[in-house]
């Protein structure tokens, strides 16, 4: 199956947290002595078993994560048990490890396995010259109306990139199976940028002290502080009090609108496409579904429709795991924010412009545990479907 065959790829790629869909298991092993560590190292060297250590055996007391192919499971478990090395099994959950290969290799695999549905486009380069890739989901046509989705624009919001990966997989799995999604893709295209801020994302992986990096990594002239808030850099209410003019601030808007290549690339793509009908920008945390405006209190002309659709979307989301979202305009529901993505897209004629703020409401915040990633992605999918169905059924 598509999900099955992409899984092994997915499980060793660099989204920091990866999915294991197959009957392979990831074992969390706790060695309590140097002898046990040595045994685990030897086990890893047995080529026939094909064990892949995500957290390698290093010292007693530190967890060891081993991805074990299905056919080797029995042998490995017998080995561990007979040496009284305790382990627990993580099945079909998200397990996290240090990045080894780019997430881009997962994308390439998705394209290779689904050539009639998925293609990869490069829309530009980040400040540090990383490619900005967008996955295009399309069943044909010429310049069909399109839905844009981005995740990871704020690099510390790791639940969003993970949700993006899950969602992309979900789209390819459900096309041809789910009638509604199939009908959506038969009339509209989906453009999906999963690692919208790759420089920031790489930086959040570099050391534990950089985990909370939000912005881009551009150098600011005349300042030792780097980075611009990519969600304050858009040309909609740019530079207002809902952003900062201090390069050291987390909400620094940048020297000018679209100064950041990560932002400019999207602007250029969307404007030259000319037929984008919805723009969904995914963030965390707060459990909110927001629509314009953030830069002014005046209600958007489509406030009523956007509000009603938001209500339906969050109701659908809540049905799965009971997760409660609030919704409303950005300025009323979260705070005044100037120069944001969705205010720009709305002011450029993209009516269905929404910001998602995913789980949670502050207990873990940006450090959401892996166990919540699949439930979050599953419930978010229901809200995304509501919006995409509405876009499909209400052409303009």
């Amino acid at each position: 199956s598509v999900a099955g065959s992409s899984s092994s790829f997915l499980s060793s790629s660099v989204c920091s947290c990866c999915f294991v869909f197959t009957r392979d298991q990831v074992l969390r092993i706790r060695a309590s002595s140097e002898e046990q560590i040595a045994l685990l190292k030897e086990l890893g060297e047995l080529e026939d078993l094909q064990i892949d250590y995500w957290l390698s055996p290093a010292q007693p007391g530190l967890p060891v994560d081993a991805r074990v192919p299905f056919r080797s499971l029995q042998a490995v478990k017998v080995f561990l048990e007979s040496n009284t090395i305790p382990y627990t099994i993580t099945i079909n959950t998200l397990v996290c490890k240090k990045p080894t290969r780019p997430i881009y290799s997962w994308m390439d695999n998705l394209v290779t396995e689904n050539p009639d549905l998925v293609s990869k486009i490069q829309i530009g380069q980040s400040y540090e010259k990383r490619p900005l890739y967008v996955l295009k989901f399309s069943t044909g046509g010429v310049n069909r109306p399109a839905i844009w989705i981005d995740t990871g624009i704020h690099s510390r919001e790791w639940i969003t990139q993970a949700t993006g990966v899950w969602t992309a997989n979900k789209i390819v799995t459900e096309y041809g199976k789910d009638a509604s999604l199939t009908a959506i893709l038969d009339t509209v295209d989906i453009f999906f940028e999963i690692v919208t801020n790759p420089d920031g994302f790489a930086y959040t992986h570099s050391t534990v002290s950089n985990r909370m990096w939000r912005k881009t990594r551009s150098i600011n002239a005349g300042s030792s502080c780097r980075g611009v808030d990519p969600n304050r850099n858009w040309d909609a209410g740019f530079g207002g009090p809902g952003s900062s003019s201090n390069p050291c601030a987390e909400t620094y808007h940048g020297p000018s609108p679209h100064s950041e290549s990560e932002v400019k690339s999207i602007v250029d793509f969307v404007l030259s496409h000319g037929n984008v009908k919805a723009l969904l920008s995914i963030h965390s945390y707060s459990q909110m579904l927001l629509f314009p405006y953030g830069y002014k209190a005046e209600p958007a002309p489509d406030h009523q429709e956007l509000n009603d659709l938001a209500r339906e979307a969050v109701a659908a989301l809540a049905e799965l795991h009971g997760t409660k979202y609030t919704y409303g305009s950005t300025i009323d529901t979260i705070y005044q924010a100037d120069g944001t993505t969705i205010d720009w897209s709305y002011d450029n004629g993209i009516k269905y412009s929404y910001t998602f703020e995913l789980r949670d409401t502050g207990r873990y915040g940006f450090l959401l545990p892996a166990s919540q990633i699949i439930p979050t992605a599953e419930e978010t999918w229901l809200a995304l479907m509501k919006i995409m169905e509405h876009v499909r059924d209400n052409p303009y």
């Binding site: 601030a249 987390e250 002014k296 005046e298 529901t333 005044q336 502050g362 545990p369 919540q372």
Partner: protein, 275 residues
């Protein structure tokens, strides 16, 4: 009915937000009345009330988080400040189970340093159990001969070592004091992470921890590091000392010992109509 009053409040909220964006500047007149339950100021005020409650309860096993705001109104008290009247549902901080409803008032004062809170809540969790859980953590820490230490709780992937979870919860209780003190009508806080914890072994009855915590500040999005010293004996007021450093090199410090004004379970004198 609610929608109309919200629409009326809209433009006036803008007037309010502009100079008050980051908590400074003169205050324009605010329209009094009912707020939408999704309104950010309502949620923010409810959180302030909960910071105060969590600090005053001083119980790592009984921490609460905001569930949903059920009702919110705001009133201007001329020359004094803005008073919020709130009704909200709370959840257990760890399990997210519903643990009761609260009625609270939060008064943001012009002259005093911190919001004045009165809060009264129902509590549906088994109080005997939470007392036992608190005591069992306390006892375990009292029995340590070697001080416990830890880093990055939760870690980058959201993991919390089970052995360190109560110490993390105590950090939440201690940070609640600091977050209550720092909160304004427009600036709110969440405790994002314990970067570091170190126990001090003491000869007296209390258990004693040094923390480095990181707070997430809204709406500025800044991550603020604060040193926190928490001294705790179950059933007694939490003692907290803190020292924060922000990106702008402003440093703030404070000290709490459970004697601050405000109330958590006294007779509620507010008129029903205000809610």
């Amino acid at each position: 009915m609610q929608r109309r009053s919200a629409a009326r409040l809209g433009p006036l909220l803008l007037l309010l937000l502009l100079p008050l964006a980051w908590g400074e500047g003169p205050e324009p007149p605010r329209a009094d009345g009912e707020l939408q339950v999704s309104n950010r100021l309502a949620g923010q005020a409810a959180r302030v009330a909960l910071h105060y409650l969590n600090y005053r309860m001083g119980s790592p096993s009984a921490l609460r988080a905001l569930g949903q705001v059920r009702k919110a109104t705001v009133k201007t008290i001329p020359g004094i400040g803005h008073k919020y009247y709130l009704q909200f549902i709370t959840e257990d901080y760890k399990s997210s189970q519903n643990v009761g409803t609260c009625l609270a008032t939060v008064l943001y004062l012009k002259r005093k340093p911190r919001p004045a809170v009165n809060i009264n809540c129902t509590y549906t969790k088994d109080q005997k159990q939470t007392r036992e859980d608190d005591y069992s953590f306390y006892k375990k820490m009292r029995q340590q001969t070697k001080p416990i230490t830890g880093n990055d709780i939760p870690d980058s992937y959201g993991n919390i070592e089970p052995a360190l979870e109560p110490a993390w919860a105590l950090a939440v209780a201690g940070s609640s004091y600091l977050m209550w003190e720092k909160s304004t009508e427009n600036l709110g806080y969440f405790m994002a992470q314990v970067k570091n914890v170190k126990q001090w072994i003491t000869k007296d009855d209390s258990i004693d921890f040094d923390y480095l915590v990181v707070l997430h500040e809204i709406p500025t999005q800044e991550m603020i590091s604060c040193h926190l010293r928490v001294i705790w004996t179950p059933g007694r007021p939490l003692k907290v000392k803190y020292f924060c450093l922000s990106e702008n090199q402003r440093s703030e410090s404070g000290e709490g010992s459970g004697t601050e004004s405000g109330s958590t379970n006294g007779i509620f004198n507010e008129e029903e109509a205000n809610f």
